[in-house]
Symmetry: C2
Subunit: 334 residues, 2 copies
């Protein structure tokens, strides 16, 4: 079904979204971090986790799952290790506060790591690696979330959808390589949508409450998502869990709060590793682009590379679902 | 079928394997690196890539795919970045030469990276992360190999089986957490074995030469392996390719030599990232073990953790297939 679209300039939507954040109790800094990440997802990354997901943030600010005034505590326990405690705030603010330093330390030492505990869920994970790729760095980002996914058929939910993102710089006119994928076979929202539309879900996506495979989305919502690719996908979820929650000291997925209900911050983890390819070869990006062109000729898709590149011009017009815009407007000061 | 086993002390098999390496033209240092990695796979890791794979190394030394006398050139372009050019030798020698320094730099800076170009295939990838876990470091290792795997049905081989390994230290009596898995749905050797035994392979393992799915192993050998978990597994292979070959400057899988035929080194890449969890929390290993116990109680397998821990006692007896031992003996000086 075609949905009605509203057309706004980037300056306009930025102002509206910022005002909505402020009205919901975000600090100016948190509002800026969240709105820029949302615009990046909408225009350079995955629009479905841009403004549609922004609504979750507004509700969570109002309902206590995000502390909009939280001031991350950022420390540097070792020269190439940046640690952040988000203190119940959004993940993007701690990352923004550390970003310049992460880039500098990545370039200076060859590799640097940012590991953050106790934030709201990370949003579009591709955002973090896309930004680092814009500064010439190869990077990997991982984040956990409250348990929604079993390790296998028959199991209870023990992992979040535990996404992993990977980015690498490419020369203009290409956008960077950006891989951004959940460890689950599908996103939870797709199951919710199937339930709303009363259609079956494919086998392999989820189990019911008893741990049995199901194609009924209403049963799947009470059960568990399944990993992509069987036990190997479950191992990726475990890797993500250890690197994000374990390393940062965040809540394990089993203990994390739900990001859509309740009044407590999820307190989950985000870890980003930034690597300087120029340490070995200043022509890394060109060499990679040449190789990806060969892969593309052989029919292999290299994600992100064909997306749009570059910065966001204030005057540029973006389209947004009219209903979504209305929803955002309801959070505005009257 | 039960195979006849030979029983030897570790000291005996170490001497036999070392003499076989030397007889095939390996330097003393290369022989030591290869034999210790093989013993580690056999006793602490994955025995199927221990001595059975050791035979591949001996053939490759004799046939020019490994330069047994190669002296890796190891550099330190940036403080936390170690780069190695294996110069056509085995991957394990460069890693051994850099190992102490990698551990030291990982602990000093919080994270350090080892990236190596132009080696023979990496062997058991869990070996690299298991050793680092033994020194309290969390790590990830990736390696490419000559193209055997398509990105999807209908494609040509463009990636190696491109394994990824992940390790994390756990307190005694546990062995470390070790994930070690190919990006392919199955190992090439399993297809070869199915062909030898004249049995069908499962759907989803491979395609024939025309890119069509096949369950006939003889057709699969001429075709391509398939990734685990569809496009997400193919993306993992791409991540591995960029981090191992791209970052190190090794041959892309498309350009790499076959490790079982021809007379040229494969010149592939290996990258290992080592992270110091103690930077944030000295109790990381204990906290992880506690969580893994909870996961285990919920039926979730945490790989490696139940394996045996510790060092290899010279007097200890190991069992090895009698035929395999005979094969190794044929390489000995007469």
């Amino acid at each position: 079904m075609a949905e009605e679209k509203a057309r706004l300039s980037i300056a306009e939507i930025r102002d509206i979204a910022t005002d909505a954040c402020l009205a919901c109790g975000a600090s100016a800094a948190a509002a800026k971090s969240l709105v820029e990440a949302t615009l990046s997802a909408a225009l350079l990354g995955r629009p479905e986790v841009g403004f549609p997901h922004f609504i979750d943030y507004l509700h969570s600010l109002l309902e206590g799952r995000i502390d909009g005034k939280a001031q991350p505590r950022i420390q540097n326990p070792l020269p190439a290790f940046i640690h952040s405690d988000a203190k119940g705030g959004i993940a993007q603010l701690g990352f923004d506060l550390a970003f310049e330093d992460l880039v500098k330390r990545g370039r200076t030492f060859g590799v640097a790591i940012f590991s953050q505990r106790n934030s709201y869920t990370a949003g579009e994970l591709g955002y973090y690696v896309r930004r680092l790729a814009g500064h010439g760095l190869v990077s990997m980002a991982v984040a956990n979330a409250h348990a929604l996914m079993a390790a296998a058929v028959g199991g209870k939910p023990v992992f979040g959808t535990n996404p992993l993102a990977f980015g690498a710089p490419l020369p203009a006119p290409h956008a960077p390589l950006v891989i951004d994928q959940a460890a689950s076979a599908t996103a939870f929202v797709k199951v919710v949508r199937a339930a709303a539309e009363n259609v079956a879900i494919p086998e392999g996506w989820a189990t019911d409450e008893a741990g049995e495979p199901t194609t009924d989305p209403t049963k799947a919502i009470l059960g568990a998502l399944l990993p992509f690719g069987g036990y190997k996908g479950a191992n990726i979820a475990l890797l993500v869990e250890v690197l994000s929650a374990g390393l940062s000291g965040a809540a394990w997925s089993l203990d994390a709060g739900n990001f859509r209900s309740g009044n407590e911050p999820p307190n989950v983890g985000l870890t980003v590793i930034a690597i300087a390819p120029a340490a070995v070869d200043p022509s890394f990006a060109v060499r990679s682009a040449d190789h990806f062109r060969r892969l593309e000729e052989l029919g292999v898709h290299t994600p992100g590379r064909r997306a749009r590149r570059g910065s966001l011009d204030n005057a540029e017009v973006i389209e947004i679902d009219a209903r979504l815009l209305d929803d955002i407007m309801t959070f505005m000061p009257s």
